[in-house]
């Protein structure tokens, strides 16, 4: 589904990603772990199409298409979803209008008619229940006045609405208490099918107790320096990143 080959990216002349290689197949859950500043969030942003990062080398193929040639909106319609670490507040734009505009575009892209108002509201209600988002959304502006937990739940709700092929969860666990974390993880798990894939980006092992990955990668200093099964998370939990950092520093 996703093939990243030797991806390099920089911001303001500073190289952040120094050659990333990653293969994600349908049905898989990948976790990308790593210390702060290793390039985890940059990778997520580059995949979503944030133009403040300049791609200086490598390729990203998504479902056979050259992802790097697509605009952020085209990537979304092709099936990439980024759950933001810091969901953006948009005063004056209601969640209903926001999701409606987004879903219309996705449906048009898939050759479907946009939903009418009542179909849309029913669909929204269904997805809200699925991800256990109990906050009243009608009439509220996107993320405005939301608690940290509500913002993250809202990301998962949007994911449920758009049904992406590849979801990238960027530090979705940051700032969540254990109950909110469970709800968010539960939502993600419910949305999992054998045809879609998930990349979970996290600093801590905690989230991976609830969203269990098939493969774990350790990102350090712009490179994936170690890949393993879910036992790798436990190892990191025990020993921290120091050992891996030392080994990597010797190699590069």
């Amino acid at each position: 589904m996703l093939s990243i080959q030797n991806l390099k990216a920089e911001i303001e002349g500073k190289e952040i990603l120094k050659g990333i290689n990653l293969e994600v197949k349908p049905g898989e859950v990948h976790a990308i772990m790593g210390p702060n500043g290793s390039g985890k969030s940059t990778l997520a942003s580059v995949l979503a199409g944030r133009d403040i990062f300049k791609v200086t080398g490598g390729k990203v193929i998504f479902k056979g298409k050259n992802l790097l040639e697509l605009s952020p909106e085209e990537r979304s319609r092709e099936g990439i979803f980024l759950a933001f670490q810091y969901p953006v507040e948009i005063p004056g734009v209601s969640i209903t209008n926001f999701m409606r505009a987004a879903l219309d575009q996705h449906r048009i892209h898939r050759g479907l008619e946009p939903m009418n108002a009542s179909e849309f509201l029913r669909y929204m209600k269904e997805k809200k229940a699925l991800v256990e988002l109990d906050a009243k959304l009608e009439g509220r502006s996107v993320n405005v006045g939301f608690s940290g937990g509500e913002k993250k739940k809202n990301e998962v709700f949007q994911m449920a609405m758009l049904e992406p092929d590849l979801a990238i969860l960027d530090e979705t666990d940051s700032g969540l208490d254990i109950d909110a974390l469970k709800v968010v993880a539960n939502g993600v798990n419910k949305l999992k099918t054998k045809d879609n894939a998930t990349i979970v980006i996290t600093h801590y092992q905690r989230l991976l107790d609830y969203i269990v990955p098939d493969i774990i990668h350790v990102l350090y200093n712009g490179r994936i320096v170690k890949t393993g099964g879910k036992e790798l998370a436990l190892e990191l939990e025990k020993h921290g990143y120091d050992e891996i950092k030392k080994q990597a520093d010797k190699m590069f």
């Binding site: 199409g49 909106e73 953006v88 948009i90 734009v93 926001f98 505009a101 879903l103």
Partner: protein, 445 residues
Amino acid sequence: MKDTKNENIIFADLYKNETDFLIKETEKKKYVEEFLKSKIPDGKKENWRKFNSKPIFRHKYKLGKKAELDFNTIKSMSFFNPDANRIVLINGFFNEKLSFRKNEEIILTSTKKAKIEYPEIFYSHFRKIKNNDKTFFDALNESFSQDGAFIFVPDNISVKEPIHILHFIISSNGNIFSQTENIIIAGKNSSLKIIHSYHSLSRDFSFNNGRTDIFAGKNSATEYYIFEGEGDTAAHINNINTEQEKNSYLKSNIVTFCGSTVRNNFKIKLNEEHAKTEIEGIYMPDKEQYIDNFVEISHLKSNCESKQLFKGVIDNRAISVFTGKVYVAPGAQKTNSEQSNKNLLLTDYAKAYSRPQLEIYADDVACSHGSTTGQLDDEALFYMRTRGIPEKQAKTMLTSAFLKDIIENISTESYKDYVNFLINGRLKGQNPETLCSVKLCPSCT
């Protein structure tokens, strides 16, 4: 370049063969002398910083004449209510046939007729609001104004439906100059809403130099909506003077959609205690348009409240100016005043000047002001795009969200819808000139 003197003579000459001025014949000489000495304000004058009169005086004008208009043209406006009170002015002159009075208890006529038919009411309000800062434009209006809208709501009367004042510029050939002097009087305990809309049906250039005086009586509640949509080829100097008595409430709302050079001068006086005024405005200059809002609120007695909120969306190479002046007189304690101006620049060439000015001579007051000027939030734009919303649509949504609070405060649904329709049309890139035309409305067939 022509000098100032010349413009004074040129405009005085327009009225050479005219009669029927609102001022008395005996006062004429004094007024005209004053006009001939008056100066066109330039950007050097403190209250007119950045103002450039050249685009106005680049053209030669004929004096607007009485003209007729097909009622269906008016009816085609989406927010037009044929059953509500209205005054229609064409090229500055009252058109009785197209005007309509529904409520028998109110006076709804022209200033020219009011002077003859209701001299007592007329003369107790005409030019009663003093102006200490007269310019060429004020003097031009005072010397030569001939007509305008006259509305009088007696004590204890509530008019539910908005009263619509419609200004049309119609020209068959040549540039038109017109001016009106409008008087609106809200009696004690009365309430009313007014929608004052300006339109041009002409492709030629027009220059409208208007004045509206509003008197808000004790305990009265007035909502005054202004829509300036005369198009790309219109200059408009709009002087609005208001005086408020005890416990009165005045809400003003101005939408300036287009106009080559527009200057709105609001001079609001809170003359007695517990008077409250709120003024909100939206301006959307495009191309090389210039829109300038000047607001001066004078808190003359204690316990009064004022609130200003102006938002601008400035496109292309357009320029906007907002000056919000708050004067608190000695002894006007417990004054509460808020002011906010926010500008959104859509291009790197657009300019917004924002000037809050506070002049406070009392010590127990709460006066706040704030101003921001910037571009659309990149983070929000990216966030929306990652959900599949196209960049252009995301920008439109964010811009309309920016203006939303002011639009939501418009209490007449049909007018609110009209403003929304025009703004969204503009943001989607439809030609503002055609959007301003009354012929292009949501409900038109």
